[in-house]
């Protein structure tokens, strides 16, 4: 479903007259329904890969080939902005460690809006949003609050809820469990395993390897640049 071939990314910082290489020579592929975990020390370029797949970073060279439902096989590196935006609304989800919200948008509205953007009707969007918030244990009392009053863990769960509610084909997870307690982590794990059952393809960065045990069927190591298959 997604193939990364001889991928590299460097950043040119003009005012320092510097070009810094973040990653080079990364290659891996993920089949539909697989879960790839990316490991490596901090600064090794884990997030850079995810952001380059999502289009937040412009790759320097290499191929990021994605088998999309709406457009067929595309290179995310050269696809038009417009097409990439379409893929982001309908197929590719991204969960970061940070929650970005519109001012004065309530929790419930935030989740509903992310469905409305896909063209879902208001009634279905509201139903699914409530269902998803319940699943992630965000208490009903908070649904009409603004998320910037939330604790770190609540924000993170809401972030995941916003991505998962759209039922993406490919979900990119950038340390979604970084600041969660054990109970919330289990919730995330439960959701991930449900997504795997539904055939969602996942690429994720996690700090604790144990968390991924039994979920990932592939692990890519940034340090050795090797891809290893794992039995589930």
């Amino acid at each position: 479903m997604i193939t990364i071939n001889d991928f590299s990314k460097s950043f040119t910082i003009h005012h320092l007259k510097q070009t810094r290489e973040a990653i080079n020579g990364v290659s891996f592929d993920v089949e539909k329904g697989e879960f790839l975990g990316i490991v490596g020390e901090s600064g090794s370029g884990k997030s850079t890969i995810l952001k380059s797949i999502y289009g937040t970073y412009k790759p320097t060279s290499g191929i990021v080939s994605y088998d999309s439902e709406i457009f067929g096989k595309v290179d995310l590196h050269t696809i038009s902005d417009r097409a990439l935006i379409k893929l982001r609304t309908r197929e590719i989800g991204y969960v970061s460690q940070f929650l970005k919200v519109m001012p004065r948008t309530t929790t419930l509205e935030l989740v509903i809006n992310s469905m409305l953007e896909m063209g879902e009707n208001k009634k279905t969007a509201a139903e699914k949003a409530e269902e998803t918030l319940k699943h992630f244990d965000i208490p009903e009392a908070l649904w009409h609050n603004y998320p910037n009053t939330f604790s770190g863990g609540e924000k993170l769960r809401l972030n995941i809820a916003c991505a998962v509610v759209k039922n993406p084909r490919l979900l990119l997870l950038d340390e979604p469990t970084a600041s969660l307690d054990e109970k919330s982590k289990l919730k995330v794990r439960e959701t991930i395993s449900k997504l795997i059952d539904n055939g969602t393809t996942l690429i994720g960065i996690f700090h604790d390897l144990e968390f991924m045990d039994g979920l990932c069927n592939k692990v890519y190591d940034m340090n050795s640049k090797t891809l290893e298959e794992r039995a589930i």
Partner: protein, 280 residues
């Protein structure tokens, strides 16, 4: 690969110069001083700008003052004449080809039926001495409405949408606060359901709470009415909130364009980097 579907507005090689130019600056390779010819002092406010606006999207334009953002907007709304360039509105069946070349009557019709404009300064978009309802009716009459009852109903509807209390609908905007004036201006611009809305620094100078109201309104309009918008702002936080795609302008030229989060997180051009590093 995806085709260029649902383009609602298309601009090609649009330029605007103030001054007649001279033998030096007519030569494309001649180096200007910023955007001015050092010999004849002709200012090249907009230089060879090309872009497409798609249905239902919000396109951001950022850049410092004097970079040509507002001139670009004014040309699209026919407030200012273009020096050269192509302007196509593919969704408008009443007009074919470059709309810069159509009659001024036709331009007025396009302006009234296809476009809405919200200026940074409400004085440009509103008749300050006329009531809010009259202001909206003016736009509706211009676009062909004649039924007073229906126009009042429409005005009420939009004033409510922008949170202007209907008790004050017969009051003139000159009595209103800046934020309220801005909201009346948005109501007016939207009242005839134009498919394209041009917003020029609409939240500049508003206090944070009113700014949040206006942003919320813009997002809602996009979601509920599928209006395509061009948002000019020098505030990158607003661009981040609102825009799907963003263009960066400097000295009249588009120096970089892309998906908004890419522009903000992986800026390529030296000037864009400077701009992004300056975010508070």
């Amino acid at each position: 690969m995806p085709a260029n579907d649902d383009v609602v507005l298309s601009i090609r090689d649009l330029s605007k110069q103030f001054g007649s130019g001279c033998e030096h600056c007519r030569d494309q390779s001649f180096e200007l001083q910023k955007n001015m010819c050092p010999e004849c002092h002709t200012v090249f406010a907009v230089r060879n700008v090309s872009f497409d606006l798609y249905k239902g999207e919000i396109l951001g334009i950022v850049g410092e003052s004097g970079s040509g953002k507002s001139t670009l907007m004014k040309m699209m709304y026919f407030d200012q004449e273009a020096t050269s360039g192509n302007y196509i509105l593919p969704e408008d069946n009443t007009v074919e080809g470059n709309v810069f070349n159509v009659s001024s009557q036709k331009k007025r019709q396009i302006r009234n039926e296809q476009l809405g404009m919200v200026y940074q300064n409400p004085i440009l978009g509103l008749k300050m001495d006329f009531s809010s309802v009259t202001n909206i009716a003016e736009k509706l009459i211009a676009s062909g409405s004649r039924n007073v009852g229906k126009m009042t109903e429409r005005a009420d509807n939009f004033l409510e949408k922008v949170n202007i209390s209907l008790d004050r609908k017969y009051e003139a905007p000159k009595n209103f606060s800046g934020g309220m004036q801005q909201r009346v201006q948005i109501a007016k611009a939207l009242s005839n359901y134009p498919p394209i809305l041009l917003l020029d620094e609409v939240t500049t100078g508003l206090d944070l709470s009113v700014q949040a109201d206006v942003l919320e309104l813009i997002k809602e309009i996009q979601r509920d009415m599928g209006v395509s918008m061009i948002v000019v702002s020098h505030d990158l936080a607003i661009i981040r909130m609102l825009c799907d795609r963003t263009m960066v302008m400097l000295d009249g030229e588009v120096i970089e364009h892309g998906i908004t989060d890419q522009i903000l997180e992986d800026p390529q051009h030296k000037y864009t980097q400077q701009l992004v590093y300056s975010i508070l």
